[in-house]
Symmetry: C2
Subunit: 165 residues, 2 copies
């Protein structure tokens, strides 16, 4: 049993036997899986006239609270992209009538982004197909293995300072 990364590791051991390439066994595989996941998830988004960025915003609003609203800063933290990227994502979503921007009532610098009925309808339609696609992508692992994997990834995230907020 060997995947592409096993070949890469072998090559490194042959060319640079002085280096221990084993970290690549983890990070290289995660990067490769990330690309494969992304391609498959994008295929599903495309069916619904969405892209990863728009889905990300709509889904974050959908789960955030009963009003489906959040500030751009909140969206930014959740998405791990810059404030400029969020501004542009919101421009696109607003133009499509999927979210609204309203001035914050407590901070005059602030903005409150809210899902419109059309935005809510769209994300609620796409969500089940999205979770389903993800489940398919993980189907090569048993439920136990998936839990194990999630646990290791959580440990790693915590060690890197990933917090609940």
């Amino acid at each position: 049993m060997a995947d592409h990364v096993d070949l890469v590791l072998e090559q490194w051991r042959a060319r640079r036997p002085d280096l221990d390439p084993s970290p690549m066994g983890v990070i290289g595989r995660m990067s490769r899986l990330g690309a494969l996941f992304d391609a498959e998830l994008r295929r599903n988004f495309g069916k619904h006239d969405l892209d990863r960025a728009s889905f990300d915003v709509l889904a974050t609003l959908r789960r955030s609270n009963a009003e489906h609203s959040l500030t751009p800063a909140g969206l930014m933290h959740s998405s791990m992209v810059t404030s400029g990227a969020i501004s542009q994502r919101l421009d696109r979503l607003e133009a499509r009538g999927l979210v609204t921007r309203a001035p914050s009532e407590t901070d005059r610098r602030g903005v409150l982004v809210t899902l419109t009925p059309a935005g809510l309808e769209l994300i609620d339609k796409v969500l089940p197909t999205h979770v389903d696609t993800e489940a398919q992508l993980l189907a090569g692992l048993s439920a136990d293995e998936q839990d194990q994997l999630a646990g290791l990834l959580r440990t790693l995230l915590e060690s890197l300072g990933d917090k609940r907020d």
Copy 2:
């Protein structure tokens, strides 16, 4: 013990109790780790006047064979980007004198990309710092846990059809 994704999962269970969000526990964490890894690796590349794309090409050539040469198609398969991206990466690397492009001797459509001495020197200088950075990023897991993680990721890659070539 809880990371950001645990919060996300809780939110989904509250807003959409009809969906089983557990696949997100794996895929969401991988995506988040990918972003964190990327940022840290980029920081290291930056110290050596490199970016991820250039490092990727130079490293692939470095490990491929004793001549440090490969076709654009070979680089493309290894990198999981389109042919257009490879062309542009090679343009940049060629302009910096780190690789050369020569016509293939067996196929007149083909091109052979080779590391120049300057390219070899640069990648050999950066490589140890790169592996070191990766090792640091994984330091939150024991050696055993890292092996376990690599194994689960390999199983997943194989289930998705990732091959040795």
